[in-house]
C-alpha cells in the first residue's frame, strides 16, 4: 500500500500491466522520453524499453488508427491522446474502425485498446485544453467510456480497461490529478495523500467496468456524478447538510443502471451533475433513463447542473464550471419540490 495521487496511480496501473502482459504497449505524443505532459508515464520507457513505450509524431488519427491495427493483431495498445481536446482528428478511426470492427466481422476481429486522455476543465486551459467530450463517445455503440474520480479507482479501472476486449475511452479528470478539487478554486486543494482514496496498493487489482460506486449513502436525494464533479457535489452536500446519496458512475458505458434505480426508488429525488455542455450531454441520457424507469418513485422533477451551452471559456471559466453555487441552488430547489 502506498499513498498515490491520481497520476501515480495511473502510472502504477500501467506498470503492473506492462509487467504482466507483453502484449501491452504504450504510445503517444511525448509519453516515452518526456514521460507525458502530466508525467503519467514517467519512468516507464526506462523500465520497459522503447519498443513497448514509445513516442509518436503529432498525428492523432494515425496513433489511434495504428492502435486499432495492433489490437486486431492481438496486442493491447494503450495510446495516450495528450488532451481530450486533441481526440477529434482520431474520431474517424475511433468510431468507424475501433468501435465497429467487432460487429462487422461478426466477432472475428476485435480492437482491445484503451485510449487514455486527460479531460475536463478548471485549469484555465481555454477552449482547446478543457473540454469534456464524453457524450460523443457514449453515443457510439461498440466503445466503452470510463471516468475515474480517485487514485484508487483510476488504477483498478485502468487495469480492467486494458484487460477488456473492447475499445475503451479512459478519460482522466485532470483537475483532480493532485487532489479532490471541491469547486472552490480560490482555496488550495487537499492533496490525495490526505484522502482515503489516495491509499493505493502497489500490486495489481481490478475494478470491474459497469459497477457504480455509492460514495455517500443517504435517504433524501440521489446525486449522479462522475470525475471531478463527484467531489464538488460531496462538498456542497456537506455544506447544505442534506442527507444525499452520491453515486459515482465510474463508467458511463456500460452504465450501472441497477444501482441508480435502487437509489432513486429509495430517495425519490435525482440531481445530475457534469462539466460538459448541457444539450445532448450525458445528463440528458441519465435523465431519460431515470424518468423511464423510476417515474412513479419521483417526488420532484429531475435537475441537471452542467456546463453552459457555450464553448469552454478562457476568462469566465468559473462562471461556466458547475460549481458549488449552482449545485447548491439546484439542491435547494429539488428539496423544496
Amino acid at each position: 500500500m502506498a499513498r498515490m495521487n491520481m497520476i501515480q496511480a495511473i502510472n502504477s496501473a500501467l506498470d503492473n500491466m506492462m509487467e504482466r502482459d507483453d502484449n501491452v504497449v504504450m504510445m503517444g505524443e511525448d509519453i516515452g522520453y518526456f514521460g507525458g505532459v502530466f508525467r503519467a508515464t514517467a519512468g516507464l520507457q526506462e523500465k520497459y524499453g522503447k519498443t513497448r513505450v514509445f513516442d509518436t509524431p503529432i498525428s492523432e488519427c494515425g496513433i489511434i488508427g495504428a492502435a486499432v491495427g495492433m489490437g486486431a493483431y492481438g496486442l493491447r495498445p494503450v495510446p495516450e491522446i495528450q488532451f481530450a481536446d486533441y481526440i477529434y482528428p482520431g474520431i474517424d478511426q475511433l468510431i468507424s474502425e475501433a468501435a465497429r470492427l467487432r460487429y462487422r466481422s461478426a466477432g472475428e476481429f476485435i480492437a482491445p485498446m484503451t485510449v487514455r486522455s486527460p479531460f475536463g476543465g478548471g485549469i484555465f486551459g481555454g477552449q482547446t485544453h478543457s473540454q469534456s467530450p464524453e457524450s460523443m463517445f457514449t453515443h457510439v455503440s461498440g466503445i466503452k467510456t470510463v471516468i475515474p474520480s480517485t487514485p484508487y479507482d483510476a488504477k483498478g479501472l485502468l487495469i480492467a480497461s486494458i484487460e477488456d476486449n473492447d475499445p475503451v475511452i479512459f478519460f482522466e479528470p485532470k483537475r483532480i490529478y493532485n487532489g479532490p478539487f471541491d469547486g472552490y478554486y480560490d482555496k488550495p486543494v487537499q492533496p490525495w495523500s490526505k484522502h482515503d482514496a489516495g491509499e493505493v496498493p502497489d500490486d495489481y487489482y481490478r475494478i470491474e467496468l459497469g459497477k457504480a460506486n455509492i460514495v455517500r449513502e443517504g435517504a433524501d436525494l440521489t446525486v449522479l456524478a462522475y470525475g471531478t464533479m463527484v467531489h464538488v457535489a460531496l462538498g456542497v452536500i456537506k455544506e447544505h447538510g442534506i442527507d444525499a446519496e452520491v453515486i459515482d458512475l465510474r463508467t458511463l458505458v456500460p452504465l450501472d443502471i441497477e444501482t441508480i434505480e435502487k437509489s432513486i426508488e429509495k430517495t425519490g429525488r435525482c440531481l445530475i451533475v457534469h462539466e460538459a455542455t448541457r444539450t445532448s450531454g450525458f445528463g440528458a441520457e441519465l435523465s431519460a433513463l431515470v424518468q423511464e424507469r423510476c417515474f412513479y418513485h419521483l417526488e420532484a422533477p429531475i435537475e441537471r447542473v452542467t456546463g453552459f451551452d457555450t464553448p469552454y471559456p478562457h476568462s469566465l471559466e468559473w462562471a461556466y464550471f458547475p460549481g458549488p453555487v449552482r449545485i447548491g441552488e439546484a439542491l435547494d430547489k429539488i428539496m423544496k419540490d
Binding site: 511525448d30 503529432i58 484555465f124 482547446t128 485544453h129
Partner: protein, 367 residues
C-alpha cells in the same frame, strides 16, 4: 522514393546534413525531386540603417513582451497555458515585414504572441488577452493560444496542432477566388508537420495553385520530442516534394536571411506559380509551455544557441557596424521597455469580462 539517386536539395542554401550516396544514377528513373520546380536563388536582404533599426525594435519588442508575460505568469496573473516565442523572433519579423499588410493574411498555431506583435497589433490588447480581460483582443475569451485580428488579417492563434494549416489553405483559396492579390502565410511547427491534414492541404494548395506560403518554424522540438525522433524525413523543407511543392530551408536565426528568403518566396507565389514551403530553422530558448522539465535537451545546448546564434544580438551588432551609437540603442531599448510595461499595467488593471459575455458570440443569433 527512388533509392537510386542521391536526395537532391531544392535549395542551394540547404544545410542538409545527409550524405550524398555515390550510387550510380540511371537516367530513366525519375527522382522525386526532379519533378519539383526549381526555385531561384535568393540573397540576404540589404536593409538600410533605419529599416534595420525598425526590424530590430520589433524583435526586441517580442523578446521583452514575452519576458514580461513569463513574469506575469509567475505572479499568477496569466493562467493555464503560455507558449513564449523567445528565440524565434527573427522568423515572424523577417517574414512578416515582407508581407503586404493590406492584402496578405497570416495564420499560425498556439505560439502566436510574436506573430501578432510583428504585425503591429497593439501589445496592450495582446497582454490583456493573456490575463483574460475584457479589453483583450478576443475579449478575454480566447486566451494565449486563441487570438485574432480580422483588421490586421491575422486569423489566429490556434490551439490544435496542425489544424491551422487547412484553415490557411482556405484563406489562400479565398485570396485567389477574390483575385485580391493577397497571399496567405500559414505557419506551423516541426511537430505539426506530422499531422495528416497538413498533407491534404499541400495537395489541394498545389492542385489549385493557391497563393500560399507554408512556413515550418522548425524550433527542433515538438514539446520534448526532437525532430529526428519524430520525423522519418527530418529535412522538413522536402515534405512538399511529393505534391510538387518546392521547398527551401532558411536560417531562421538570421533576420535578414529570413527577409531575403521571404522576398523570393513571395515573388514566386505572387507570380501565380502556386504554393511554396519554407522551413525556418530556429530555436526556442524557453520551455514548450510554462511547465517543462527540460530533460530533452542540455542546458549547454540552449546556452550555446543564445550565445552564438541570437538574432537580436546579431542585428544589434550589424547596427553598430552601420554606425549606430550606444545612445540610440539604449533609447530604443528604453522605448520598448516602456511599451511593454504599459501593456502589462493595462493588462493587470483592466476589468474581467462581465458574466453575460459567457453566452455572447456562441452563435450569430441570440437565443
Amino acid at each position: 522514393m527512388a533509392k537510386a539517386s542521391a536526395p537532391k536539395s531544392s535549395s542551394k542554401k540547404s544545410t542538409s546534413t545527409r550524405k550524398k550516396t555515390s550510387a550510380p544514377r540511371k537516367k530513366a528513373v525519375a527522382t522525386s525531386s526532379s519533378r519539383v520546380p526549381k526555385l531561384p536563388a535568393f540573397k540576404r536582404y540589404k536593409a538600410n540603417k533605419a529599416e534595420l533599426l525598425e526590424l530590430y525594435e520589433q524583435m526586441l519588442l517580442i523578446r521583452r513582451f514575452e519576458e514580461k508575460a513569463g513574469q506575469l505568469y509567475g505572479l499568477g496573473l496569466i493562467g493555464g497555458f503560455c507558449h513564449l516565442y523567445i528565440g524565434q523572433e527573427a522568423v515572424a519579423v523577417g517574414l512578416q515585414s515582407a508581407l503586404d499588410e493590406d492584402k496578405d493574411s497570416v495564420i499560425t498555431g498556439y505560439r502566436d504572441h510574436g506573430h501578432m506583435l510583428a504585425y503591429g497589433i497593439d501589445p496592450k490588447a495582446i497582454m490583456a488577452e493573456l490575463t483574460g480581460r475584457a479589453a483583450g483582443i478576443s475579449k478575454g475569451k480566447g486566451g494565449s493560444m486563441h487570438m485574432f485580428s480580422v483588421e490586421h488579417k491575422f486569423y489566429g492563434g490556434h490551439g490544435i496542432v496542425g489544424a491551422q494549416v487547412s484553415l490557411g489553405t482556405g484563406l489562400g483559396f479565398a485570396h485567389k477566388y477574390r483575385e485580391d492579390g493577397g497571399v496567405c502565410m500559414a505557419y506551423f511547427g516541426d511537430g505539426a508537420a506530422n499531422q495528416g491534414q497538413v498533407y491534404e492541404s499541400f495537395n489541394m494548395a498545389e492542385l489549385w495553385k493557391l497563393p500560399m506560403v507554408f512556413v515550418i518554424e522548425n524550433n527542433q522540438y515538438a514539446m520534448g520530442t526532437s525532430v529526428n525522433r519524430s520525423s522519418a524525413e527530418d529535412q522538413l523543407y522536402r515534405r512538399g516534394e511529393s505534391f510538387r511543392i518546392p521547398g527551401i530551408q532558411v536560417n531562421g536565426m538570421d533576420l535578414l536571411e529570413v527577409r531575403g528568403a521571404a522576398e523570393m518566396a513571395l515573388k514566386w507565389v505572387r507570380s501565380g506559380k502556386g504554393p511554396i514551403l519554407m522551413e525556418l530553422k530556429t530555436y526556442r530558448y524557453r520551455g514548450h509551455s510554462m511547465s517543462d522539465p527540460a530533460k530533452y535537451r542540455s542546458r549547454e545546448e540552449v546556452q550555446s544557441m543564445r550565445e552564438k546564434s541570437d538574432a537580436i544580438e546579431q542585428a544589434k551588432n550589424e547596427l553598430i557596424k552601420m554606425g549606430m551609437g550606444e545612445d540610440e540603442l539604449k533609447a530604443a531599448d528604453k522605448k520598448i521597455r516602456k511599451i511593454v510595461s504599459e501593456a502589462a499595467d493595462f493588462a493587470e488593471s483592466s476589468p474581467e469580462p462581465d458574466a453575460p459575455e459567457l453566452y455572447t458570440d456562441v452563435l450569430v443569433e441570440t437565443y
